[in-house]
């Protein structure tokens, strides 16, 4: 039944990739993803992992290698952060359009400028529309579990799609946490070997990535969209089976004291643990506050999310990236659209916080909830914790 270890989360994720029998790793190191790639490189060099490690010259080449490798039918992995994501993003859209089941950890970091190696979700929001399935981990255990789950879903013949597992830079990647590492045999039983739908094969030639003239491009996107939406059922099924095998069950939207809450805080990733402490404090003070944490970001779990928040009067939605829309942030935009489509009116307060590694404290969450409780007219968004 595996064993409980104290391990840096990046190392644990790299070990999990090893447990998944990955065939090819093509990656370029970038802070704060570095330890994952370094450790994988060591595992291959030391003979602990029978895989090809391709030390490419850039992230663009990393994803290009991954596309070739996955098209050839190999189980393929990469990892990146921030500007690294930006450089490989061109190829990400090709990976999803070609329906290649590549798995990538994005260790979330702020996009420059100014240069910041610290954590926020601007790289994740940049990747929002890339056609990759996306989950985001709250803690080290989740980072490991979601990564194993990612291979299972990506390679399912009903899906065949690339999968991005997000984890907060430093706050998760560089922490030493107690983690249950599954046994190899358990992972083998959960994750069957990859059976590619189509692959590069000299005996049976195929063309990946032909030109799509105006009379076929729309149909190509309809097919991709249908498969993307249908992937949710497989994501849920694979989580159920993960729980049955490993004892840890995951849902697209996690809740904490949300059932009777008048105000629900909406978060993603590791900040949710701070938010839970704030919920406890506010509950102690007699306020009906709860938390909804989005774990599945793409495809967005619309029904599940609405079920969680439909009883709340106020929503306090956190965005950890500037989107420069002159309007609501990316997470909140998603949520407002869900509420509007259902004719549901709640007071939605959008706060931008935790940008470029700025701490968000329990007190900050309490301030956000107080603002929501006392204000009658929410602004489109508000950036908190700013020095005037």
């Amino acid at each position: 039944m595996g064993k409980r270890v104290g391990m840096e989360v990046s190392i644990a994720v790299a070990e999990a990739i090893g447990l998944c029998n990955v065939d090819v790793v093509a990656a370029y190191p970038i802070t704060p993803q570095t330890h994952i790639v370094e450790h994988l490189s060591e595992m291959v060099a030391d003979g602990h992992l029978d895989a090809e490690f391709i030390p490419v010259e850039s992230e663009h080449s990393a994803m290009s290698c991954c596309i070739g490798s996955s098209a050839a039918g190999a189980r393929t992995y990469t990892s990146t952060s921030a500007q690294g994501y930006a450089l490989l993003s061109e190829m990400c859209y090709i990976a999803s359009g070609l329906r290649l089941p590549i798995v990538m950890n994005v260790v979330n970091r702020a996009l420059s400028a100014p240069i910041s190696i610290w954590n926020d979700h601007s790289d994740m929001m940049m990747s929002r529309d890339s056609g990759w399935i996306q989950t985001i981990a709250e803690n080290g255990q989740e980072a490991v579990d979601l990564t194993i789950h990612a291979f299972r879903v990506a390679e399912d013949p009903r899906v065949y799609m690339p999968f991005q597992v997000n984890m907060d830079g430093f706050i998760l990647s560089h922490m030493i946490e107690p983690i249950y590492m599954p046994d190899k045999s358990e992972v083998d039983a959960y994750l069957p070997s990859l059976k590619p739908g189509l692959r590069l094969d000299p005996q049976k030639p195929v063309t990946f990535g032909p030109v799509g003239m105006p009379d076929v491009y729309t149909e190509a996107k309809v097919a991709q969209d249908a498969a993307f939406r249908n992937s949710k059922a497989v994501i849920l099924e694979a989580w159920k089976e993960f729980g049955d095998k490993f004892g840890r069950y995951y849902k697209p939207v996690e809740t904490y004291k949300a059932e009777d809450a008048e105000t629900i805080i909406v978060t993603m990733g590791s900040l949710s643990e701070t938010a839970m402490s704030a919920v406890d404090h506010l509950r102690d003070a007699g306020q009906k506050v709860g938390l909804a944490r989005i774990r599945l970001w793409r495809p967005f779990p619309t029904e599940e999310f609405f079920d969680v928040v439909k009883g709340a009067k106020n929503l306090v939605v956190l965005d950890r990236a500037m989107n420069f829309a002159g309007n609501t942030g990316p997470v909140c935009t998603e949520i407002k659209s869900i509420l509007f489509d259902r004719g549901h009116s709640a007071n939605v307060f959008n706060f931008m916080a935790g940008l470029g590694g700025r701490d968000v404290t329990v007190q900050n969450f309490e301030e956000m909830v107080q603002k929501a409780a006392t204000s009658k007219a929410p602004a489109a968004y508000e950036i908190i914790n700013v020095r005037e």
Binding site: L100, F208, E219, A226
Partner: protein, 97 residues
């Protein structure tokens, strides 16, 4: 892919819009863009094959008599063959429509 047009239901597309029939680009009619077509005067032609070598679309193929003959299904009328022909045997002729 449906021949020539690519017009097909989204449900019939291959995974990732891959093409599983090698060489099917030859089925696509690219000769309908043409405003002029090359015609060869076989009396002048020396069978040197320069048209065959220079044609960017592999329109020319050798017939039994050794002449290089155009396949107008793919010819876009670029005129390179006429320009390169060393004995000026190829004339670009205006298409009617």
């Amino acid at each position: 892919m449906a021949k020539e047009t690519g017009i097909i239901s989204w449900k019939q597309l291959n995974l990732g819009v891959a093409i599983t029939t090698p060489g099917n680009a030859a089925e696509l009619r690219t000769g309908d863009w043409r405003s002029q077509r090359p015609e060869t005067d076989l009396e002048t032609c020396t069978k040197c094959g320069m048209c065959y070598i220079f044609c960017p679309d592999m329109v020319y193929s050798k017939n039994d008599e050794g002449f290089y003959i155009q396949n107008y299904y793919h010819c876009k009328g670029c005129g390179i063959c006429a320009k390169e022909c060393p004995v000026d045997a190829i004339t670009m002729v205006q298409e009617e429509n």
